[in-house]
Amino acid sequence: MTATRFPHGADIGVRGEGPTLAAAFAEAAAALSASVCDLDAIRLETPVAIECAAPNDAVLLFDWLNRVIYEMAVRRMLFSRFETTIANHRLRAVAWGERVDPNRHQPAVEPKGATFTELRVERRPDGSWLAQCVVDV
């Protein structure tokens, strides 16, 4: 399972890869968090439940990342661990994190929204899953 970022002109691409669709979604959210600060700096203090549903898995990734961004914004939190399950284009998750501490976390950017740019959710020939899109920051 990996969470990586890829370049985009002015913003940041986030990519999750894992053995299952749910794992790839969890890693994509971790990549989103890593665009803000080092994941190791985020303490796993508070769980936040998130649910969303969409007509297909690609839009579900868009919705999922936007829900994470929303929870980050209104709770003033950063998350680093995501426990996800997905069935029939419906996602249930618990995001673990803590309140932003500007001095300790030094957030580099504030994610504005997930986008449809470079949006891909697909199963690879080896059976693993990829979930990615560009996030406006």
Partner: protein, 474 residues
């Protein structure tokens, strides 16, 4: 960008003739170097925009154009009210992100004498960066009043002066905004974010006027060589982002039923006359008011800090411009006056002199245009060109990035950037050194090349050049 297939219209303008799905040509304003340095995606995106239903005249890309969402950033397109569409991606996520500039009348030495203390005081007072909250929390009634009232609402609540309002687009209050078209989630996201700067490329800078290019215009704008101005760059914060995301999704899902084929989902749009299109426009206008109110509160906070160091300093507002909007405007197309819906995504309105929408103060000069640069390379003040407006009276909005944040992080360390800038007399305050590295001066295109191309193309006139002294980043 591969320039094969581009017709050269002049030194600083290129045309992609209409072909395939394009309904109108695409025009790119850039010199030979800038156009070649542009991402191939700019070409792909401006061609896609030229194929949207109801587009009028041409799809335009400004000299600072770069890869955006559906529209390139630096994209301008106008649509017929009956046949055309409105696009959430064509406006962008940070609705009405913009710049306002305040005139201090202080000479640089006066600011330099207190530079460190002033930078620290601004940094302590201006909420910036992720997780920051303003000192303002809005209940439901106040949220709705703000969304309907914009900067005028802020002035009524004591943030700034009535004299500021004529110096803001739309007189500080965007008409036909509908708070009820804004979702509860968007309002919740904004509840504690009024009067916050944000992060990324947003900033508050004290800048020296280092050169005057047009003395009469500069005098009319109150600008003198060696004087200090303050510029604030930010937008509609979480509310605008939430509206952008929600309508992008809704428009993408609804497009097939509306008979709209989208070559790129980011181009998601809705007919202007549809319920969805009208609802988006009402919500977007409310977000414009949010941005205007936000910059108004930040202005009040900034004046308060300067007032501690320079008592009774009035700091009048020169002007406030927005970059990410769709506005109903009248333009002459092929000799006929037409009402159009003009999208500007990362582009500034640049009204010519005597335009009826200009405040009286700028009737003779044309609209002030602020082009934000990087922390090291400075910014520029322009004015709307006097001849027939080009690209629906639009101009560039910034230097534009020339490399990704990813690449910038590989090249620079934040502490080194801060120290190097301090040695050059630019004092940066930010809670995020990584953020500073991502915003390093050389991560942006040279602003002079962008502005020169805009001026040569007739989009605007040069007025003054600015160099940062203090920079507050999120």
């Amino acid at each position: 960008m591969d320039i094969s297939g581009l017709e050269r219209l002049g030194e600083d303008a290129w045309r992609i003739p209409a072909s395939g799905r394009m309904r109108v040509p695409a025009v790119i304003y850039a010199d030979d170097v800038l156009v070649r340095e542009m991402d191939e995606k700019v070409r792909e995106q401006i061609v896609n925009v030229a194929g949207l239903p109801g587009i009028v005249e041409a799809a335009y890309a400004m000299p600072d154009a770069h890869w955006g969402y559906g529209f390139p950033i630096g994209g301008v397109a106008a649509f017929d009210p009956d046949e055309g569409v409105v696009s959430a991606g064509g406006v962008g996520f940070d609705i009405s992100c913009g710049v306002r500039t305040l005139v201090t009348g202080l000479p640089r030495p006066a600011v330099e004498a207190v530079a460190t203390e002033l930078a620290d005081a601004l940094f302590d007072t201006i909420p910036a960066g992720m997780g920051a909250t303003g000192g303002v929390s809005l209940d439901d009634d106040e949220m709705n009043a703000m969304l309907a009232g914009g900067a005028a609402w802020a002035v009524e609540r004591g943030w700034g002066a009535a004299a500021d309002l004529p110096r803001i687009e739309e007189g500080g209050r965007m008409a036909d905004a509908d708070p009820d078209a804004v979702s509860p989630l968007a309002k919740q996201r904004q509840r504690d974010e009024m009067g916050t700067l944000g992060s990324g490329n947003h900033y508050l800078e004290a800048q020296e006027v280092t050169a005057i290019d047009d003395a009469p215009l500069a005098a009319a704008f109150g600008l003198n060589t060696g004087d200090v101005v303050v510029s604030i760059h930010c937008g509609s914060r979480g509310l605008g982002h939430q509206i952008g995301s929600e309508f992008l999704r809704e428009m993408a899902v609804a497009a097939p039923a509306a008979g709209i084929e989208l070559p790129d989902l980011e181009l998601a749009c809705a007919p202007i006359r549809s319920e969805l299109g009208r609802r988006y426009l009402r919500a977007m206008r409310a977000a414009i008011n949010c941005a205007l109110a936000n910059r108004q509160i930040l202005t009040h906070l900034t004046r308060g800090v300067f007032g501690r160091f320079f008592p009774d300093l009035p700091m009048p507002l020169l002007f406030d411009v927005s970059h990410n909007t769709c506005k109903e405007e009248w333009h002459t197309v092929a000799g006929r006056r037409r009402q159009l819906y003009v999208h500007r995504k990362g582009a500034t309105r640049a009204l010519p002199p005597d335009h009826p929408d200009l405040p009286n103060a700028f009737a003779a000069t044309g609209q002030p245009v602020f082009v934000g640069g990087s922390m090291g390379t400075g910014s520029a003040i322009l004015a709307g060109a006097p001849r027939a407006p080009t690209a629906f009276a639009s101009a560039c909005h910034g230097a534009g990035r020339r490399m990704s944040r990813h690449q910038a992080l590989k090249l620079w360390r934040g502490r080194e950037v801060v120290d190097a800038l301090a040695r050059r007399g630019v004092f940066v305050r930010s809670r995020s050194l990584r953020g500073v590295a991502e915003e390093a001066p050389d991560a942006y295109k040279p602003i002079d090349a962008v502005v020169d191309a805009a001026v040569a193309a007739g989009l605007a006139r040069r007025v003054a050049r600015l160099k940062p002294i203090l920079c507050i980043k999120g």
